[in-house]
Every structure is written in structure tokens, then in C-alpha cells.
Amino acid sequence: MGEMSDFPLSTRLFLKAYRWRRIDPVPWTLLSKPLAECRLGLISSAGFVGPGDAPFDRSVRGGDPSFRVIPGDIDVSQLREHHRSESFDHQGLAADPNLGFPIDRLRELVNHGRIGSLNVRHLSFMGSITAPGRFQRDVVPEAARLFEGDGVDAVLLVPV
């Protein structure tokens, strides 16, 4: 597991002092059918951008709250990682985008019948949003509505 000691002092102090949003009450949804019949969506916060999409804006104070839609048939070798954080090693994601956007693994699970299907699109955020006001008010509901409208049953969220 990642430890606070993995980070430089400035990041550790920030993480300690930051007023994290506490989810309360914690919402809870059980699967309504077997996973083998479910449609799964994937969300990454590694800042991946697909071909032709604008990169995330690293200059936005408080973090770029936008997201990119990644087509379901994406070839992961076409993804580019634009995460602004210098608090983690980016080499793993560069070597293997499936490490943060495991679409090939999920396709294999569909082929094996473990998951029913994958959604026609997936979502990419850039984490490190330290001022989540607009993110929480506008962007999060917009993203959730997309998956709701697509009939997604379950979502795997992969941070970085």
C-alpha cells in the first residue's frame, strides 16, 4: 500500500492538513444481477487522453476538473498520460497504460464470461483536484449521468 512516507515533505504536509470531503451518509448499491450479466464502466484518474482530445490543463489552480470520454474500442497504446502530479513515478503508466486503464484486462474478462459486457465509453479524469467545488457540483453529476444513461450496472475506478 502507498504510505505517507512515499511522498515528499510538502505533499505529506498537504495531505495531513487538507480538509478531505467526508462522504456521509455513504450511499450503497448492490448488484441487481450476476456480474456475468452486468455492463461495466471504467474510470481512471491518471489523466489519460485519447487521440484528438485536448490534454488536461495543468495550469488550473485547484486542478482541472474536466473529464475525457474514452471510446470503448480504444487501443491503449494510443492513450497519453497527462497527469500533472510530480508526487508519483509516471514510468509504469508509460510502459503499460493497462496499469491505470486496464481495458485489455476487462476485455479478457468479458471473453471469459466473468463480466457481461463493457460500456461503449469510459471516463478519464486527472486526479489531484485540490479545489473540488465545481468538480463536485457540476462535473461529477455530469459524469454519473452519462453512465446512468448508458445503462451501466457497475463501475471500476482506478486511481494513480
Partner: protein, 80 residues
């Protein structure tokens, strides 16, 4: 990620979040989180290791299927 997961759950979509920093998840409280023993930047372990990536994803999927869990379900990954 936890805020997105919570909004999805409010709309009737089950979620599981991979998590790299337990101290943060305990404060924020995503509905379902799988704590993994990896460095930041390596949420599913080693690059180009599909077997390990599958093991982590399978552990996450099992949280989705476990009807005995209660929110917030913050569970340690017991693989390697």
C-alpha cells in the same frame, strides 16, 4: 474518485475503487474500496504483468459481489 463513486452509487450503480492510501479513504469513505500494497503510479502492481493485474481486478470484482459487506466497505487486498 471517491466522490464520483458515491454519486454513481446514489444513482443505483455499484462501484469499487482501487485505493493506494488507506488514511485518505478512511477519511473520505468511498462506498467500496480495495486497498492495494503498491506505490503511487502503480495501482495494479507491475507494468506488463497481466496476471497480477487480473488478480487485483478479480479481488475488486469480488467486493462488488459480496452482499455481506456494509458501507463504507474498506478492504485490504490479500494478494501480492
Amino acid at each position: 474518485m471517491s466522490l464520483v463513486a458515491a454519486e454513481l452509487e446514489r444513482r443505483g450503480i455499484a462501484t469499487v475503487v482501487i485505493n493506494l492510501l488507506r488514511v485518505v479513504a478512511e477519511r473520505v469513505r468511498p462506498p467500496r474500496a480495495l486497498f492495494v500494497p503498491f506505490q503511487h503510479g502503480y495501482p495494479l502492481g507491475r507494468p506488463n504483468d497481466p496476471r497480477q493485474q487480473h488478480a487485483v481486478i478479480e479481488a475488486a470484482l469480488r467486493l462488488l459481489e459480496d452482499e455481506a459487506l456494509a458501507p463504507p466497505a474498506l478492504v485490504d487486498y490479500d494478494g501480492s
